[in-house]
């Protein structure tokens, strides 16, 4: 199937205008692979029909879905699911029991990007641990990208984004519909502090955490920096706290300051110092 050059130009400039992603020439296969299923889901059989629909209807949600399908954005709500399930079923119950006197929980989403992870963590707490009402819950999301954090703070996500990983029951409970899409409720948004942070810099100003999520970001660092980051994270983690890495990430060969929590399927680690103090 070939794409009409005018349609190609229309779609690539739509994506460029909305995301800044320059598709360039010769990406017909990519447009077709990503956009044809979207067209089909509307009962349209070709990209030409999809472009016609866009030109005539000015359908905002369609334009947004197309943009996101073209920009590979892998941040989604409850990404990989299992770490959140294990947090709910295994890690948090013990952690909460051990903190009955301080009634305080500090959580760090260390590669927060556009905020989905931090909000997913908060939703997990709200949904499964109503006994935490009255506790001091501090959720901190950091990222190097100010642009990503601006979006995280606004908490506005497109129709496409709220359908990735987020059960509908949580959408209707924790979001409100706004002209640009769906916005996290003020209550939940005000429960997270987002701030800019380069993982190569000091973490000491962040304080000590019970739980650190640092997923799918270490892969972008050289070995020596990975070691330095993990070692500094260990200093910010309570001895009975947990570090959660991405599914394909490990501390093996990087640092010996963490040990894998064997009862978890996902990449959950506890500080080795917790063994030394026993």
């Amino acid at each position: 199937m070939s794409i009409d050059p005018n349609d190609y130009e229309f779609l690539s400039s739509l994506v460029a205008k909305r995301s800044g992603l320059a598709l360039g020439a010769g990406k017909e296969y990519l447009l077709e692979a990503r956009l044809l299923p979207i067209a089909n889901s509307l009962g349209l059989t070709s990209l030409a029909e999809l472009v016609r629909r866009l030109r005539t209807s000015r359908d905002e949600s369609l334009a947004a879905t197309i943009t996101e399908a073209m920009t590979t954005n892998e941040t989604l709500f409850f990404r990989d699911r299992t770490p959140f399930d294990e947090l709910r079923d295994q890690l948090l119950p013990d952690m909460i029991a051990a903190r009955q006197t301080t009634r305080r929980l500090r959580i760090w989403s260390a590669a927060a990007s556009t905020g989905q992870e931090a909000y997913s963590l908060l939703m997990t707490l709200r949904e499964s641990f109503p006994q935490l009402a009255g506790w001091r819950i501090e959720m901190i999301g950091t990222d190097i990208s100010q642009q990503a954090l601006a979006k995280a703070k606004n908490g506005i996500y497109s129709q496409f984004e709220v359908q990735r990983g987020l059960p509908i029951q949580l959408l209707v409970k924790y979001f409100r519909q706004v002209p640009q899409g769906w916005q996290i409720t003020d209550d939940l948004r005000s429960s997270v502090t987002f701030r800019t942070l380069n993982l190569l810099e000091s973490f000491t100003s962040l304080g000590e955490f019970d739980l650190i999520f640092c997923r799918n970001v270490l892969i972008y660092f050289e070995q020596i920096n990975k070691t330095a980051i993990l070692d500094r994270m260990e200093k910010q983690l309570r001895s009975d706290g947990y570090l959660v890495l991405g599914a394909a990430e490990t501390v093996l060969g990087v640092t010996n300051r963490f040990q894998r929590v064997r009862t978890c399927k996902s990449a959950v680690y506890s500080p080795t110092k917790s063994l030394q103090t026993v």
Binding site: P37, Q159, Q163, G165, P167, I168, Q169, V172, R176
Partner: protein, 122 residues
């Protein structure tokens, strides 16, 4: 093998959805409206989940859903609304009627896969 019933008056949408879910190893049945869907679940009580459009001739999706959930003698598969009705009041209405999940059109393969997994049929 799990069984999914696709209910949509657009043959093109049914075809596209079928193409998305076929590689997942699910048996697929089809219906063009709520009335046909009712017949299908009589013939195939083994249906595990229904992907249900809202606006259809003869019997629309929400009417079918209410009828299904009110009749306790019927099998009660998971129902995923799959529609261009994307406003919050409509979503709430469908959930109140007994929908388990909701897909807002247009959708992608990833969305369908994740919603089916959420409904327990993957």
């Amino acid at each position: 093998m799990k069984t999914l019933l696709l209910v949509d008056d657009s043959r093109a949408v049914r075809l596209a959805t079928k193409r998305m879910v076929a590689p997942l190893g699910i048996a697929i049945l089809e219906a063009e409206d709520g009335s046909q869907a009712w017949d299908r679940i009589q013939e195939h009580p083994e249906v595990d989940a229904i992907l249900l459009d809202w606006n259809m001739p003869v019997m629309d999706g929400i009417t079918f859903l209410r009828k299904l959930r009110e009749d306790k003698t019927q099998p009660q598969p998971a129902v995923i609304m799959c529609t261009t009705e994307n406003d919050l009041p409509r979503i709430l209405e469908a959930m109140q009627a007994g929908a388990n999940e909701y897909i807002m059109k247009p959708f992608t393969e990833e969305i369908v896969r994740e919603k089916l997994a959420g409904a327990g049929i993957l």
